[in-house]
């Protein structure tokens, strides 16, 4: 407990290690400025709406006189409130529903008033004016609401609704988090000691193996489901179980890797863990803080401690921003508003990742793939994180460049005391790079263990097949591979029982035991190294069995109808 508090303190200091931020006043000033900007946008939206109302009233409907104008201005009143709610509330996930309800309620009420006025106008003979009011009401519902939303920065809500986000948006998302990060004050009351109550069954032995250090990141029962919409009314007609109940711990200073094929949920897991997309269920404990419980305001400084490096060095950097802005945006939010100071820090981080200091004014397209990936690393590291999610950081790079970036990541880990969650499909890279590995299949962890254990003594038939599939650059080691049948099933309809049973060679070998398709295997501990596997028959796997299976299979039967 003491250790954790000390850690929190140091995290606190670390976050404020920016010498330019002096005193509480300054600390409050910077976020104040950013918040002021948001409110300014809100006010701008309201002014625009009012101006538009006036213009339409006077020019289009030729309504004159102060009294009449006041009546036609009713939607603007609604937008004063809506705009305020948008600036304040919509940024936070829990508040946007409230804000939305309020806005829509006010608008509907206004529309109702207009309708009543309209009816009164009809009976009172002054129908023209009443009609104008109804017309204006309709125009505003269509025009004003999106305008307010877009100007007041609740884009995140829209992107979440849309679900599909390109890599450029992803970076923007992360950066946007940091723009609002500015609130550097951690409320002392918001440090719940939740990790104690998590009490993971495995973590005891794991913790012991790691010298009784608490994990930096604990993931428990994490789920992320995406709805599939369709049908006449665009209802939800299915669910993609991208991540479906995952537990693991990452200890300070280690590299924990997630491997798996495309569609296994490893990338979604990384992003959900960072709360870049809200989890459907489950808990993430970072540094003793349960992220779900952390107040949104306190979440922001934590976000800075957890950074991400993306796979695509071409899509993840905003092409219209110079390097100084790509890296500097996060720093600005950290409180470094002085341009010269910020540029110096940008140059420092460029130097750390092995790029020239004078590259700051260049744009992403002027760099090669490896250099871009270095910029991505510099962006993540400029904020002094403790924990970095590396999402396929070298997959898009050539072999010779790949090793440069891997070396860089390892050097930075050592020098800056980082902890990595390394996500990759390349098993050779993972073997070299990590301390512990989780093999994912269809949203679940199939096997977890130290590199030595997992590669030398795989205990899940899927891991065995993955390892067998690695092409070895030594032509003397040409061997019969163990080839899996078919493709990964859709994560929208995972197979019953063991998710791997449809492609499992071991099940076939054992005469298709019923258990595999009916009972879902738990991720059980196999030995005292913390090696875990989710297979009913993990004990049946050994080298001889694998050799024999590989020798007897026919490659023509590996495609499966579907």
């Amino acid at each position: 407990m003491e250790a954790r508090e000390a850690r929190m303190d140091s995290a606190f200091d670390h976050g404020l290690a920016v010498p330019q931020v002096r005193g509480k006043l300054r600390r409050r000033l910077v976020p104040g400025l950013l918040r002021a900007r948001a409110i300014l946008y809100g006010i701008l939206a309201i002014i625009l709406v009012i101006a538009f109302t006036l213009a339409v009233s006077v020019v289009f409907l030729r309504i004159k006189g102060a009294g009449d104008l006041l009546i036609t201005l009713w939607p603007a009143y609604a937008f004063v409130l809506a705009g305020y709610l948008a600036t304040r509330g919509f940024k936070d996930r829990k508040l946007w529903a409230f804000g939305l309800a309020m806005t829509v309620g006010v608008l509907l009420a206004g529309l109702g008033v207009a309708l009543v006025l309209g009816v009164m106008g009809v009976s009172g003979g002054d129908g023209n004016k009443a009609f104008a009011v109804v017309l204006l009401g309709l125009i505003f519902v269509g025009f004003g609401l999106p305008l307010t939303w877009s100007l007041t920065g609740s884009r995140r809500w829209f992107t979440e609704l849309r679900g599909a986000e390109g890599p450029a948006i992803r970076t923007a998302d992360v950066l946007e988090q940091e723009v609002t990060v500015a609130d550097l004050v951690i409320h002392p009351g918001a440090v719940p000691a939740v990790a104690m109550t998590v009490a993971p069954t495995v973590a005891m032995t794991e913790g012991e193996r790691h010298g009784n250090v608490d994990p930096l990141v604990s993931v428990r029962g994490l789920k992320k489901h995406f709805p599939i919409v369709g049908g006449l009314l665009r209802r939800q007609i299915g669910t993609i179980y991208a991540v479906d109940g995952v537990d693991f711990d990452i200890y300070p200073g280690e590299v924990f890797s997630l491997v798996g094929e495309s569609g296994c949920g490893k990338t979604t897991l990384g992003r959900t863990l960072l709360q870049l997309t809200p989890p459907t269920d489950g808990r993430v404990v970072f540094n003793g803080l349960e992220l779900e419980d952390v107040d949104p305001d306190d979440m922001r400084p934590l976000r800075r401690k957890m950074q991400i490096i993306f796979q695509d060095p071409f899509g993840s950097l905003n092409p219209r921003m110079p390097v100084s802005d790509i890296i500097g945006e996060g720093l600005f939010a950290q409180g470094i508003t002085n341009r010269a100071e910020r540029d110096k820090r940008v140059e420092d981080s460029l130097e750390i990742v092995g790029l020239r200091r004078d590259y700051t004014r260049r744009f992403p397209h002027e760099f090669s793939g490896g250099q871009r990936q270095r910029i991505g690393v510099a962006r993540a590291l400029a904020l002094n994180p403790d924990f970095v999610v590396c999402d396929e950081p070298v997959s898009a790079l050539d072999v010779s460049i790949q090793s440069q970036v891997l070396n860089l990541l390892l050097d930075l880990k050592r020098d800056l005391n980082l902890t990595y969650l390394f996500i990759s499909h390349n098993l050779s890279v993972v073997e070299y790079f990590s301390d512990r590995i989780g093999v994912m299949y269809l949203g679940k962890i199939a096997e977890e263990g130290t590199v030595e254990e997992l590669y030398r003594n795989p205990r899940h038939p899927y891991t065995v097949a993955l390892l067998s599939a690695i092409p070895d650059p030594d032509p003397r080691k040409r061997r019969k591979r163990l080839v899996l049948k078919g493709d990964v099933p859709s994560p929208a309809a995972p197979p019953s029982g063991c998710r791997f049973h449809t492609r499992c060679w071991l099940r076939e070998r054992l005469g298709n035991p019923e258990q595999c398709s009916t009972v879902e295997p738990v991720l059980r501990v196999l030995d005292d190294t913390g090696h875990r596997a989710a297979c009913h028959f993990a004990e049946e796997i050994n080298e001889a069995v694998v050799q024999e299976t590989a020798a007897t299979q026919s490659v023509l039967e590996t495609a499966v109808a579907g």
């Binding site: 094929e261 495309s262 990742v353 092995g354 790029l355 020239r356 090669s368 490896g370 250099q371 270095r374 050539d398 072999v399 010779s400 460049i401 790949q402 090793s403 440069q404 891997l406 070396n407 860089l408 390892l410 050097d411 499909h425 098993l427 050779s428 890279v429 073997e431 070299y432 790079f433 590199v451 590669y455 097949a465 993955l466 067998s468 599939a469 690695i470 092409p471 070895d472 650059p473 030594d474 032509p475 003397r476 080691k477 040409r478 591979r481 080839v483 899996l484 493709d487 990964v488 490659v555 023509l556 039967e557 590996t558 495609a559 499966v560 109808a561 579907g562």
Partner: protein
């Protein structure tokens, strides 16, 4: 096996009958806004019937352009082929052939598989149509017979219920299935040469294993020659008899797969092998080739690998190296280490390579 890579025959004369494909002094240029880029720069190799040859290189090395030039699939202009370039296929020179003649070879005697199975298949036609179209054209048979042939070739690549599959569109299939369809299409006319350009790069590991095993078994069964283009040394080690390593449009090393991957003699190949992460290198830094591939507009004057080479000396900056013979066979490397001037430096370089391969080696990274 080494004689497969023997020096090309005399200019203008066909090679031996057992040589299926012989490329002589092939040069391909691209005219772009900033000038002319030599994408393939004086490449010669040959491939015997039924043999397999791998071309390895990183992006920009010219390996794919070589394949497209052989198939004459490049648009001219912007591409142009240098004077004196010759490609002999099955006893005929195909670069000077009229395009109509060439079309009878494409898809019939020489077929090609591409990297992206999704974009390489036409989205608006069923896969049966796409395969049958080719069969109909080359084998001069009726549409119905061609469709039966398409079903047969789908069966050959292990696609279940092919009668149903031929009526499907590419988007209705998974990535692995689509690549099987591409292979079935390539095999439908029983080609003598199969060119596979990064056939598994876009696929997942377990699917890659399926496709590689399939290619291997089909190559053995049909006896067609295979030209495999890839960036993955692991894939090469599994699949081919002979290897060519390319860098900035040139061959830097060639030999049997054992020679090139186990006893590499060009510093670039050595560097590539050293930089592959492996369990032995855990805990240490990976040895990385420093710097980046030079821009084709700004190639180093002599040896193109010299700025990145840990063994370079003065001579490397002034005299362009030739492909020098290493040992007694057909093993060639484009490096001065294998001339009399560099002989003194060779043992040291090899020693350093062996150390780096096993232990990891520290080289300055980045900063360019």
């Amino acid at each position: 096996m080494t004689e497969v890579l023997a020096a090309p025959g005399p200019v203008g004369a066909p090679p031996d009958r057992d040589v299926l494909l012989e490329v002589r002094s092939l040069r391909t240029y691209f005219k772009v806004l900033d000038g002319i880029v030599p994408a393939v720069d004086d490449i010669s190799f040959s491939l015997k019937r039924g043999q397999t040859l791998g071309i390895v290189g990183e992006s920009g090395s010219g390996k794919s352009v070589t394949a497209l030039t052989i198939m004459r699939l490049l648009d001219i202009p912007p591409a142009s082929i240098g004077d004196g370039s010759e490609v002999w296929f099955d006893g005929r020179e195909i670069l000077s052939m009229p395009l109509d003649e060439m079309r009878k070879i494409r898809g019939n005697d020489a077929a090609m598989i591409f990297q992206e199975p999704l974009t390489s298949l036409n989205p608006v036609f069923t896969i049966g149509d796409q395969i049958a179209e080719q069969v109909e054209l080359h084998l001069k048979i009726k549409k119905r017979a061609a469709m039966d042939r398409a079903i047969e070739s789908l069966q050959l690549v292990g696609i279940p219920s092919p009668e149903r599959r031929v009526k499907q569109y590419p988007h209705e299939m998974s990535g692995g299935m689509r690549q099987r369809v591409m292979i079935a299409m390539a095999l439908s006319c029983e080609p003598k040469l199969l060119i596979a350009d990064e056939p598994t790069t876009a696929l997942d590991v377990t699917i890659q294993a399926q496709i590689l095993e399939l290619l291997k078994s089909i190559q053995q069964r049909t006896g067609s020659a295979l030209l495999l283009i890839t960036h993955d040394l692991g894939v090469v080690a599994e699949m081919v008899d002979n290897v060519i390593v390319m860098y900035t449009g040139q061959i830097v090393e060639q030999g049997t797969v054992h020679e090139v991957l186990l006893e590499p003699r060009d510093p670039y190949t050595m560097g590539l092998l050293e930089s592959i992460p492996s369990v032995e290198k855990r805990g240490g830094r990976l040895s990385a080739i420093k710097g980046v591939v030079p821009s084709p507009f700004n190639l180093p004057p002599a040896c193109r690998f010299e700025p990145r080479c840990p063994y370079a000396w003065d001579r490397c900056r002034t005299v362009p190296p030739d492909l020098n013979r290493v040992g007694s066979g057909g093993h060639l490397a484009r490096c001065h280490l294998h001339t009399s001037e560099g002989a003194g430096r060779l043992p040291d370089a090899l020693q350093r390579h062996r150390t780096a391969l096993n232990l990891g080696r520290t080289l300055p990274t980045g900063g360019h």
